[in-house]
């Protein structure tokens, strides 16, 4: 079996793979980083979003072999080493942007990618950007609000709760 090597959350990661092994399976099964989730098999739900070389990627839609030499960031690598949540994670917590938690890793990774591209997105820009991430619990209300808050916008006036 071929071998693949990459950097995951700042650490070197190497493993045996089949040609058909998906990046998400390598992350979950070989590296035991189970925070990245699989919610569908048609690249629609976004629960598996990770960053590859700084870009948000659906890791179910990329072969592990394609990540050879890449720098991969998963949800496990987002908080500070001492466990302190980063700005987006903290905003999701403050604004109840998650319920069952299954889509959450992908949502956080997508939100981080959005804010890297567009530091103060409008509500419409956030909703548009999240078209590749499905959440079945929150109705998106608090996710959008959390992302606006993470970008430093005042969300206190958003539709009364």
């Amino acid at each position: 079996m071929p071998q693949v090597s990459m950097t995951v959350n700042g650490k070197p990661a190497t493993g045996q793979i089949e040609g058909r092994t998906l990046l998400v399976d390598f992350i979950r099964e070989t590296l035991n980083l189970t925070g990245t989730h699989v919610g569908c098999d048609t690249s629609q739900c976004g629960a598996c979003v990770v960053h590859v070389n700084g870009k948000a990627v659906k890791s179910c839609t990329m072969f592990a072999a394609e990540a050879e030499g890449a720098d991969v960031l998963t949800i496990e690598g987002v908080a500070a080493p001492d466990g302190t949540l980063d700005t987006v994670q903290q905003a999701f917590h403050e604004h109840h942007g998650l319920q069952c938690g299954f889509c959450t890793p992908g949502m956080v990774m997508s939100a981080k990618a959005l804010l890297a591209e567009n530091p103060t997105p409008t509500e419409a820009e956030i909703r548009d950007y999240l078209e590749g991430n499905i959440c079945r619990c929150t109705g998106y209300h608090n996710i959008v609000k959390a992302i606006m808050a993470a970008s430093g916008q005042d969300v206190s006036k958003i539709a009364a709760e």
């Binding site: 925070g35 569908c40 739900c45 994670q89 069952c100 889509c103 959440c135 079945r136 609000k145 709760e161």
Partner: protein
């Protein structure tokens, strides 16, 4: 202001820490040493007779451990149905066998035929392709009315026909209802379809079976909303394993919405195979498989007639519904179109006479069961569509028509067997009117029209029966289970508390909310209380989470257990303080002798219980752990009034939700932030049903909406920010917290609100459309516009 961490506080969730950092423990994150993987070979035909299954080539494939077929399960029990409905004529429903793996016939696309166990998932999948199936295709029955036609192909050969039951409620009222409709000044009729849905919790189902030959103990890790129910159903009815040898664990579960209530074949398979093969067996459902194997929802075809007298008082409601059961009876399927639907047909109104007829039908489709709301959305949708249409036909204001017919006195016994304990529908409507800015609607409509859009305003009122349910009542109605809930409150020696609950949290935030209740009662910090749930090994027998029951029933059990703790700690405190027990007060974690400054701290009392050196051992057992089982004596009745404004593009038929405002009565609220989130999610699922979601089969029984490419669920840009309110509810009168439950309201109340708004928009443009079936997709709206000329 509520105390931080106490009842009424928007305490932030403690669950978030693990879910936000990727260290949750979902079932698919569990990998056991030496585990094998199972792949199910499923039928690609909706209906067929199995002539032969040749697994010889597949068995020789690399990594294959063993291949199982229906023959391996011939002596196993049928996957059981937990509710027996009795038909109009006093006969029990038809209840065909539901095998773990297909026996003799396949009855829907996705019916599992073979289970291939291999060293890896990929090897199992590869081997499945080498199995040679000889299946003779039979005509499929998909349409319910066709399934009931004389001479239709039978889904189950051993039954006389495809009718599961023909239910009438209230049967004794039938003639009086018929007469009231004959004599009515006006009758409004609506024929509608409540579209079939796929629940689609984001986490696909997973099962991991394990067996310990040394102890004879089976363990099943599964994505369940109710591990004790799975243990009972699978152990007692399918595999014959007693509870003390079967542990079921439902760890972090990624959403349920009903679809993870039921006992599924894959759970039984993994449990059985782990023993047969003496190694753990794991199954992870793919999303494509979920579309073919998770219980689906709704799928009613209904005609409703609403009779009014000359003064526009509602005099009778008569409904006729065909309800799709799918190919087999899922765990609670028969209860959904009957008791959870018919009992809500009075709605918020004083209608004196109601008759509901439901014909439940077997078809060659995936089984149908409860999904968020379960029967109550179907009831609300048809009733509120009919009221809206009546208002239009009579030329009266839809709010005034509703108000005129509101129930105003509580308790109120409806003609459909339930007694509403509390409520204030006028106050909800007042609140909605003030918050939704109806006064500004005309200006907003004018603005929309300037942009070439039609704007509509839809109103809806609803009531639901939650806090499921009084065991003796549901037993009379056919439930084969009790519907109490349990809690064990274990106070540890140094004062910290572990609460073991039979409720299960899969997004609801119980780990945050339940401690608020216990901490509030004891006057201690919520961080001193931890919740254990989801493991039959360390929780008392409980019925789990569905039907908006966890705070109302599970929370009440916790209150009762905590009351027992308070009673015992007061006895201990009275001993320590050498005072009469009647004089002991517990406040802010201190026991005080009333009227004195003598006190002892919570931690001293709990320590005394476990280090009973100075302790009334002759009168009181040491230790501090109490269990309560709470059986409610009524349902709870959350109610609401919703308003939605939509914009319809007459060129394309596209509907956009412009505003959505709610006024809900959930009784008392423990954590407003959590309740907000539940309403947001429920609304979005209802909006999904109203505008987007449609599970549809072709005439051969092939599922056309079998992936996220084809089944449209709401995405972030399909919904607006919501304006919701649940303040000042009327407390439930029969449970200790005064709570009613909030999980399903949004999904129940939103569908008619949206469709009423769409019809209003079309009518405002002079388009004579009085109904569009859900999902109100662009093509359907466009076609309706064209048809109206």
């Amino acid at each position: 202001m509520p105390k931080d961490g106490g009842i009424g506080a928007s305490t932030k969730r403690r669950e978030d820490a693990r879910f936000l950092t990727g260290i949750g423990n979902y079932t698919d994150d569990i990998n056991l040493r030496g585990q094998a993987y199972v792949h199910f070979l499923r039928s690609d035909l909706a209906h067929g007779r199995i002539n032969d299954i040749d697994t010889s080539a597949a068995e020789a494939m690399p990594g294959v451990v063993r291949i199982f077929t229906g023959k391996d399960f011939e002596t196993a029990g049928s996957i059981p149905c937990g509710w027996q409905v009795t038909d109009r004529f006093g006969n029990p429903m038809k209840e065909p066998r539901h095998p773990v793996l297909a026996e003799g016939k396949v009855r829907h696309v996705g019916d599992p035929i073979c289970a291939i166990v291999a060293e890896t998932r990929e090897q199992a999948r590869d081997a499945a392709e080498a199995i040679v199936l000889d299946i003779e295709e039979l005509p499929a029955v998909i349409d319910m009315k066709a399934a009931l036609a004389e001479g239709s192909t039978k889904v189950h050969d051993e039954l006389d026909d495809n009718l599961c039951f023909d239910w009438g409620f209230v049967e004794e009222n039938k003639e009086a209802v018929d007469e009231a409709i004959r004599n009515a000044a006006h009758v409004t009729t609506v024929e509608l379809i409540n579209n079939r849905l796929v629940p689609n919790a984001m986490e696909p189902r997973v099962a991991v079976g394990d067996y310990n030959r040394g102890t004879g103990e089976h363990t099943l890790y599964t994505t369940s909303q109710n591990p004790h129910v799975i243990r009972l159903l699978m152990g007692a009815f399918v595999l014959g394993i007693p509870e003390h040898k079967l542990r079921v664990v439902a760890p972090d579960v990624g959403g349920g919405f009903g679809s993870k209530i039921y006992h599924y074949a894959e759970e039984a398979f993994c449990t059985y195979a782990a023993k047969e093969l003496n190694r753990p067996v794991k199954w992870t459902c793919t999303r494509s498989e979920a579309f073919l194997s998770d219980a689906q929802a709704r799928d009613h075809v209904t005609k409703i007639e609403l009779a009014l007298d000359a003064d526009n008082n509602f005099t009778a409601v008569r409904t006729m519904t065909y309800a799709n059961m799918g190919a087999y009876l899922s765990t609670f399927a028969p209860s959904i179109p009957t008791w959870l639907h018919g009992t809500l047909m009075a709605g918020n109104y004083k209608t004196p006479l109601v008759y509901v007829n439901v014909k439940a039908v077997f078809t060659n489709t995936v089984p149908v069961d409860a999904y968020r709301g379960a029967g109550r959305p179907e009831a609300t949708y048809q009733l509120e569509r009919a009221i809206d249409k009546a208002a239009r036909e009579l030329g009266v204001d839809p709010i005034a028509l509703r108000r005129q017919n509101f129930i105003t006195e509580f308790p109120y016994a409806t003609p459909v067997a339930v007694e509403y304990d509390s409520g204030d529908f006028h106050r909800l409507m007042d609140k909605l009117e003030s918050r939704a800015d109806f006064a500004g609607f005309a200006a907003r409509r004018a603005e929309s029209e300037k942009n070439g859009k039609l704007r509509g305003l839809g109103i809806n009122c609803f009531i639901e029966a939650c806090g499921i349910a009084p065991s003796n009542l549901v037993g009379q109605l056919g439930a084969r289970a009790g519907l109490y809930e349990s809690a064990t409150v274990r106070v540890n020696a140094t004062g910290g508390i572990t609460v073991m609950t039979g409720s299960h949290s899969h997004g609801q935030g119980h780990e945050t909310v339940f401690p608020q209740v216990v901490a509030d009662m004891l006057g201690i910090d919520a961080s001193m209380v931890e919740i254990e749930h989801g493991d039959t090994a360390n929780t008392p027998m409980g019925m789990g989470t569905y039907g908006s029951r966890s705070i109302a029933v599970g929370g009440s059990a916790m209150v009762r257990a905590t009351e027992k703790i308070i009673a015992k700690t007061k006895k201990i405190a009275s001993h320590l303080l050498e005072a009469s027990e009647a004089d002991i007060e517990l406040k802010d974690g201190q026991f005080t002798v009333a009227g004195t400054d003598k006190s002892v701290a919570w931690g001293d009392v709990t320590l005394a219980a476990y280090v009973p050196h100075n302790y009334p051992l002759e009168d009181l057992e040491p230790g501090l752990e109490e269990t309560a089982f709470y059986d409610p004596n009524n349902f709870t009745y959350p109610a609401g009034a919703y308003a939605c404004e939509v914009e319809v593009d007459p060129e394309t038929g596209k509907v956009t939700i412009a505003r959505f405002t709610t006024a809900d009565d959930f009784g008392n609220v423990i954590n407003p932030m959590i309740v907000d989130g539940q309403v947001h999610g429920g609304l979005t699922q209802g909006i999904g049903q109203a505008l987007l979601e449609n599970c549809t089969y072709d005439e051969n029984g092939q599922l056309l909406s079998a992936s996220y490419m084809d089944y449209a669920m709401p995405r972030a840009d399909d919904v607006p920010f919501f304006s919701i309110d649940h303040s000042n509810g009327t407390p439930c009168t029969h449970n200790p917290l005064g709570v009613k439950g909030c999980g399903e309201a949004g999904a129940i109340g939103s569908t008619p609100t949206v469709v009423n708004a769409v019809v209003d928009a079309l009518q405002s443009g002079g388009i004579k459309v009085d109904h569009v079936d859900m999902p109100v997709s662009p093509s359907r709206v466009w076609q309706a516009i064209q048809a109206a000329g």
